[in-house]
């Protein structure tokens, strides 16, 4: 148990908007061990980023709240830390990288300044030492001529290099947990490959645990040990990557897997696509959030919420028809219009 670094139990996140409450995340559970990589997949708006933000306790003040749940990180109860203690955790023990490297670096400070700042926030260090550290970090993430580069501004870097800088910032304090929110979505394939390789090698070196948020299953297969599939604020399925690939159980996971284009997808074929769009989280849904779009949906799906069930060791799924006793038969080509 000691090597469990992060445990999230029944996490709910709500947003208060002008007239209603958006239940952005409902009952998410995460268990993450040291050096492990967890992938969170799901389509846009499913609550991936909100979950990550909640872990950092960076939800917008006064709007976002965590009505339920428990987050234990490295033995600390995150939700009961004082603001000051939480700041010591942020960037130091948990670091975060965001999706868009173009906008997540502050355009008006040099790259060096931004790394130094991260270092000096958490470590007693002179300006000079911090500068040395910044150069070192740039070298670590594979930026050539780091001495010259520290003095440059983000806009003088390409997208891939900026993402490297973000990684340098995130890793500068040797965090135990790195949360990467779609770190390669905005990048080219070739650059994506470089960045993913870099993250892997750094994880290897520093024993970091990673939460990798993405909607690209390819990235998950590439990087992760475990995966959580989210849909409209709920975890619909979770398990090891192998299980999810070989034995997916939730109809949404099926749809997700099918809509990937691979080299086996034939040019002439019609692509499978989940029809419709996710529900509006402002209106409470009595049943399963996916019921609206689910080709297998029955009466019960729109009236009763399915509960998560551990169908096999470490493989949890929330579907009325996927229980220990019962299995739903997966049909071919149901997602083809």
């Amino acid at each position: 148990m000691s090597d469990v670094i992060l445990k999230v139990e029944n996490l709910d996140v709500h947003f208060r908007s002008s007239a209603s409450i958006v239940k952005a995340v409902n009952g998410v559970n995460i268990t993450l061990k040291k050096k492990e990589t967890l992938g969170i997949v799901g389509e846009s708006g499913s609550g991936k980023s909100v979950t990550a933000t909640a872990l950092m306790r960076l939800l917008p003040k006064g709007i976002g709240s965590i009505p339920n749940g428990k987050i234990t990180f490295n033995g600390k109860d995150i939700l009961s830390l004082s603001d000051k203690e939480m700041r010591d955790v942020r960037g130091n023990e948990i670091a975060m990288i965001f999706q868009d490297p173009m906008t997540s670096l502050n355009p008006v400070f040099t790259v060096g300044d931004q790394i130094e700042e991260a270092v000096r926030t958490h470590q007693q260090m002179s300006k000079k030492e911090a500068k040395k550290k910044a150069i070192e970090m740039l070298k670590v993430v594979g930026i050539p001529e780091p001495e010259k580069r520290v003095k440059m501004y983000p806009h003088e870097f390409s997208g891939g290099m900026r993402q490297r800088v973000m990684i340098a910032i995130a890793l500068s304090c040797n965090p135990k947990l790195l949360i990467a929110d779609e770190p390669t979505t905005a990048l080219d394939v070739t650059v994506q490959a470089q960045i993913l390789e870099l993250m892997k090698s750094l994880q290897e070196k520093n024993d970091t645990s990673i939460i990798m948020i993405t909607h690209d299953l390819g990235v998950v297969w590439e990087m992760c040990d475990k995966v959580i599939v989210m849909y409209a604020g709920n975890t619909v399925e979770s398990g090891t990557v192998e299980t999810i690939y070989e034995n997916p159980l939730h109809p949404y996971t099926w749809g997700l897997l099918e809509s990937q284009i691979t080299k086996n997808t034939l040019n002439g074929d019609k692509l499978p696509a989940i029809p419709g769009s996710p529900p509006d989280l402002r209106n409470p849904i009595p049943g399963c959030n996916f019921a609206d779009r689910c080709p297998y949906a029955k009466e019960i799906c729109s009236t009763t919420k399915p509960q998560p069930i551990e169908v096999e060791l470490g493989h949890i799924v929330s579907c009325h028809f996927q229980t220990n006793s019962n299995r739903l038969e997966r049909k071919e080509r149901v997602y083809i219009e």
Binding site: S18, A19, P275, G276, D292, R293
Partner: protein
Amino acid sequence: MTSTQPSSMETREVKKKEINERSFIRKLLKNRIAAFGLFVTIFMTIIAIFAPLIATHAPNEMDITHSLLGAGVDGHFLGTDNYGRDLFSRIVYGARISLIVGVSAVLFGAVFGTFLGLIAGYFGGKLDSLIMRTMDGLFAFPFILLAITLMTVLGQGLVNVIIAIGVANIPGFARIVRGQVLSVKEEEFIEVTRSLGATHGRILFQHVLPNCLAPLIVYGTMSIAGAIISEAALSFLGLGVQPPTASWGSILKDGKDFLVLNPQMATFSGLAILITVLGINLFGDGLRDALDPKMKV
């Protein structure tokens, strides 16, 4: 896209459409502060329109022997001015001139300034330099000199007061709009519209302009205060509306000589300006938000 049942969709749609039509006003009213601004603005407008019904006295009726009465004395709600005219009635009538001058002058400046700013920002290059250098030149001009010149060339009168203040407002609008255009014209949807074969005119007025409105509205409503006060400044030079016509600016100006012993003239006319400006600005902020389709109802 076959999954949803058409029937339920349709009923939802009817509702949706109604909401859309009223959503603008709803959005505006939802924002309580903007609603308050709107209320004040409408209130002042009503006062201006129905001045004859609201005023308790004829605004120009003098009674020198009862000049500078305090508020409430002798049936004069806000007292009298230095000619013994009823201050309340004059402020009520003054609303007409001040609102007309404030709003029209800003509109005048906004229309021309926006046009110039649009052209300068959109086409850039030499035209931009020409327009903006001229605007700089105009900006560097003392308002008073500008006003005296325009008023003497055009002659006095309300319309020319509006034009003079309006002209002084042009460069500000031109700058704001140009700055905004520079960023809007880089937006992808502008290029998309171009790729459809649209002419510059269409792109400018159908797409660039509407997307420049937000800062324009804010700047515009803020300028109204300046315009109302400018009318007073023109009065100082004798270039504003001519006596006996009442305007807030002229009452304020007249009142400045009695500020210490009989502050009611300056105080009440100043308050009228203040409240109106406050109302218009709050309304302007709300309007900006309401015009933005992205803002949720």
